[in-house]
Subunit: 218 residues, 2 copies
């Protein structure tokens, strides 16, 4: 589910903006209710975003890898709508929203670029609605693995050997499953020789079978 920018575009932005900032694992980049002023491109590490509803129920709404852009949910308002926290030590490029117009002068395609990123975010969220609404546990887990694999390979990393940046808890929360079900699903996929799992290290042995399972419905 790619909502990435070109690395060279991020680099250009970063040179102009000069506001890269490192975040430690578990540290919040911002929280729901904080004043909205910027969107962020991940430069290294990984980030999760999550909602908290009135009753305190949390829902992870996305995982963001290097090159991916987050924070679009704040634009309609003065404050952010979700919480953003680093899954590991990470760096981000901050893009102050009120400088977007000046920046557009230096990178003319920027405005259109942002519209496109938001559009892809919407598409990706809709794909996720289908995943949660129609797929069973195997389908959901396989879909996440497949998505991560694609995104790793776009970054010229191996699509076969992944280190998951998030805990089983996070995976379960994101996919609407309990950690037990996530764990059992990993075990089953391993027994069927589709993947090898060792904690957060995952090797995908059979992409074709994995993609079939992505479409398993309940």
């Amino acid at each position: 589910m790619p909502l990435a920018m070109d690395v060279k575009d991020i680099d250009r932005l970063d040179k102009i903006i000069q506001r890269g900032r490192p975040i430690q694992s578990g540290e919040h980049l911002y929280r729901a209710g904080d004043v909205f002023s910027s969107i962020y491109a991940v430069r290294s590490g990984s980030i999760k975003t999550y909602l908290v509803d009135d009753e305190g129920v949390e829902q992870i709404t996305g995982f963001y890898l290097p090159g991916e852009v987050l924070g679009f949910d704040g634009i309609d308002n003065t404050d952010h709508g979700c919480n953003v926290v680093a899954l590991e030590t990470s760096t981000v490029c901050e893009i102050p929203f009120n400088r977007l117009e000046e920046l557009t002068l230096q990178i003319p395609t920027l405005q259109r670029h942002f519209s496109q990123l938001m559009s892809r975010q919407i598409k990706s969220d809709h794909q996720m609605l289908l995943t949660l609404s129609k797929k069973n546990a195997e389908g959901r887990v396989a879909t996440l693995l497949s998505s991560l694999s694609h995104r790793y390979s776009r970054r010229k990393l191996s699509p076969n050997a992944l280190r998951l940046p998030m805990s089983r808890m996070d995976i379960g929360n994101f996919l609407g499953l309990t950690i037990e079900t996530v764990s059992r699903t990993f075990s089953r996929l391993q027994k069927e020789n589709i993947i090898d799992v060792d904690g957060r290290e995952v090797v995908i042995n059979n992409h074709d079978r994995l993609n079939e399972i992505c479409h398993k419905n309940r």
Copy 2:
């Protein structure tokens, strides 16, 4: 889940654009794969959008009422990502995307306006992720009713008496439930005197209880 425009803004747009067009119930406004050129504001009636995945599984991604704007998922590409069909005889205002820049000259806030609408679409979709991931059948149905009620009252219609524009099938598809479960849930809410149901006519007797049930998790 409000991603509406001001009626007077739509009217201004409509005057400029002059491309209102009526659609019959069941008729498609466009389909996934059609060339993207416009976004649309609903003027009357109601509209649903849905995805179809490789296996032919359908997922309704949203219901759109008068004043609400759809089509933002096409902006990153030359073609549309989803299907759009009228739930009843409806009219829409077509906003050609390539005229947006000229239009921005006549309605200066338009660009920002669109960013805000897209941002709200993202927020609304994230809220829906939480609904599908964390709520049980009662919570999902109550959340939909509550959302419709809010959106009706924004249009100066009664928040208590609704005519649902969509079938039980559509509701089930949207909420990740079978029609049987949807039907049983309506019956249960009626037995508890929270709503009265007669086919597609719904009266909300107790908004407070309904909102409590919105947060029922599984």
